[in-house]
Symmetry: C2
Subunit: 288 residues, 2 copies
C-alpha cells in the first residue's frame, strides 16, 4: 500500500472499527480510526505490551463522539510489521512516520505509559505537528521507578490469568480490582478482527526502552513543551511512582493541568473512564 488519505469508517463503537493498514517504507502498520469529523484528530499511543485491542472502548468512544480518534500499533507491535526499537526516541520517530503517512498535518496526542514517554518526546520535537497532549500514567525521563522496571515485569508475568494485569493496573482494594476487572472485560468485547498479541522480541525491546527512559541521561527538556498538556495519574501507580512523577511533570511542563484519581494504579483511566472522557474532551475542546 502507499500513503493514503485517512479513512474514518462510520461506526460509533470502537469494537466495530475495522483494522486498517498503511505502508511506510515497506513496513505495513495497523491502525483503527473512527469518530466525528471536522476537528483535529487525536492519535493514541499505547502502553507497554498493549495493542489496538487494549484501548478501553468507553474511552475511545467517548473521545470519538467529539473528534476523530486514531489508534496505531507502533513498529513490531500487534499487527504492525517492522521491529520494535529498544529506545523511546526511535519509537517517536516511527510514530511520526505513521502519522505523516496518514496525511495528518496537525493532531493531538493521547499517550499512555510508554506511549506517554513517546508523546513527551514528540511534543518537544514537533510543536508544528502536535497541538495538545494528554499524558496518562506516565513519568518524565530519568524517573527512578524505571530502574526497577524489569523486576516489576518479571513479577507481573509470574501471576496466572488476569492477576498480572491487576497487579500493574489496579490497587489492592476490592473496588479498584473490580473496576479494572470490568475494564478487562470491555477489552474483550471485540470478537473479530482482533490484533495479534505482542511477541516476546517486541516486549524485550520495550522493557529495554522503558528501563533506559529511567537510566539514560536526561536529554528531554520538558520546560520546552509549548503545547497545553493534561496529565492524568493514579494515586498508587507503582510502575510510574506516580506520587512524585506526577508532580515532576506538572512542575516542569509550563502549561499543564494535573488530575490525580484516588485509589488507582497504572490503569488509572480504565478505572474512571467516564470522568476521564469528560475531562479529556473539555481539555481538547477548550483549554488553551
Amino acid at each position: 500500500m502507499n500513503a493514503q488519505t485517512l479513512n474514518y469508517p462510520e461506526v460509533s463503537n470502537y469494537a466495530d472499527a475495522p483494522t486498517q493498514y498503511i505502508e511506510v517504507e515497506g513496513v505495513s502498520y495497523a491502525y483503527r480510526s473512527l469518530g466525528k469529523q471536522s476537528v483535529i484528530p487525536v492519535v493514541c499511543l499505547q502502553h507497554f505490551t498493549g495493542t489496538l485491542d487494549n484501548w478501553d472502548p468507553i474511552i475511545i468512544n467517548g473521545l470519538a463522539k467529539e473528534r476523530p480518534v486514531i489508534t496505531i500499533d507502533n513498529s513490531g507491535i500487534g499487527n504492525s510489521g517492522g521491529t520494535t526499537p529498544d529506545n523511546v526516541q526511535d519509537m517517536a520517530r516511527d510514530a511520526i512516520r505513521i502519522i505523516t503517512a496518514l496525511d495528518i498535518n496537525k493532531c493531538d496526542l493521547l499517550g499512555f505509559s510508554i506511549g506517554g514517554f513517546i508523546a513527551q518526546t514528540l511534543a518537544v520535537a514537533r510543536p508544528d505537528l502536535f497541538r495538545k497532549i494528554i499524558l496518562v500514567g506516565t513519568a518524565p525521563q530519568g524517573a527512578v521507578a524505571m530502574h526497577s522496571f524489569p523486576q516489576l515485569v518479571e513479577k507481573a508475568f509470574s501471576f496466572d490469568g488476569t492477576e498480572g494485569f491487576l497487579y500493574i493496573f489496579a490497587t489492592k482494594s476490592e473496588k479498584s480490582r473490580a473496576k479494572i476487572t470490568a475494564a478487562l472485560g470491555r477489552l474483550m468485547e471485540r470478537k473479530n478482527d482482533r490484533d495479534k498479541e505482542t511477541g516476546m522480541a517486541a516486549i524485550q525491546a520495550q522493557i529495554k526502552a522503558l528501563t533506559r527512559w529511567g537510566t539514560d541521561p536526561v536529554t528531554l527538556n520538558l520546560d520546552k513543551v509549548r503545547q497545553p498538556v493534561l496529565i492524568v495519574q493514579g494515586s498508587n501507580d507503582e510502575m510510574m511512582h506516580s506520587r512524585t512523577t506526577s508532580q515532576q511533570l506538572f512542575e516542569q511542563i509550563p502549561n499543564a493541568v494535573l488530575i490525580c484519581y484516588p485509589d488507582s494504579g497504572h490503569g488509572v483511566f480504565f478505572q474512571y473512564p467516564e470522568m476521564f472522557v469528560e475531562q479529556a474532551n473539555f481539555f481538547l475542546n477548550h483549554f488553551e
Copy 2:
C-alpha cells in the same frame, strides 16, 4: 424572622439573586440562593474577607444550571450579624446553625480558602449532613504556610487599588493577572443590593483563625473524611503553599480527586471558571 423553608428566586444570574435573611438565635444571617431544583443543593463557604459579592458569577451560574446553589455570609461577615469567631471550629458551628435553620438536611459543600478549612471540619463532624465536598485553594490543618499569614496579609493590604487582590489571587504572569483582573470585573457586575464590606474586627478574627489553623495542634483527622472530595489547587498559591498542601490533602483524604491548574495563585478557580464548572458539576453529579 424565624426559621423558614429555603426559597429559590427564579433568576439565572447570580448578579440578580436577591439577598435574603434568616434569623438564628437572634442573629440575622445574609444568604442568596438560585438554581435548578430537585437535586441536592451545594452550600458555598467564602474566602478570607470575602462576602456574598465575592463569588464569581460564571462559577455560581454554572453550578446553578444543574443544582440549587446557596451562598452564605458567616457570622460577622458582610450583611450578616453576629461576631466573627477567631477559630475555624466555631465558624463551622455557625455554618451548621445557618444550614440547619434553612431546613437543609443534606447538601454538598464548596469551601474556598478559609471556607475550605470550615468545609474540612464540617465533613468530619457531620457526614450525615454533608454528601460531597469541593475544596478550592485550601490547606490541611497544620499547614506551615499559615504561620506567616499575618505578614502576607499585611503585604497584600499595603498595595493600592486592585494590586493587593492580584498579589494574592494571581501569579506574576501577564496571563494570570489579566484573567484575575477580568474576574474582579465580574465581581462588580452586580450593581444593587450589594453586601457590606467585611469590617476590620471580622478581618482581625479571621486572621487569627487562619493563623491558628497552621499553628494549633492538629485535631482534624482527614483520613476520617467519608465523603467524596474534589480538591482544586493553583500551581503557585503562595498563601496555601499549594505544591505541598495539595498533595497532603490528596494523600490524607481517602476518596479525593486532585486537580491542579497551571500558572495560578490563590484565585485558581477565578482564573479557569469554565473548566472548574465542568469538573465540579461532573464531580457532584457522578463521582462516587
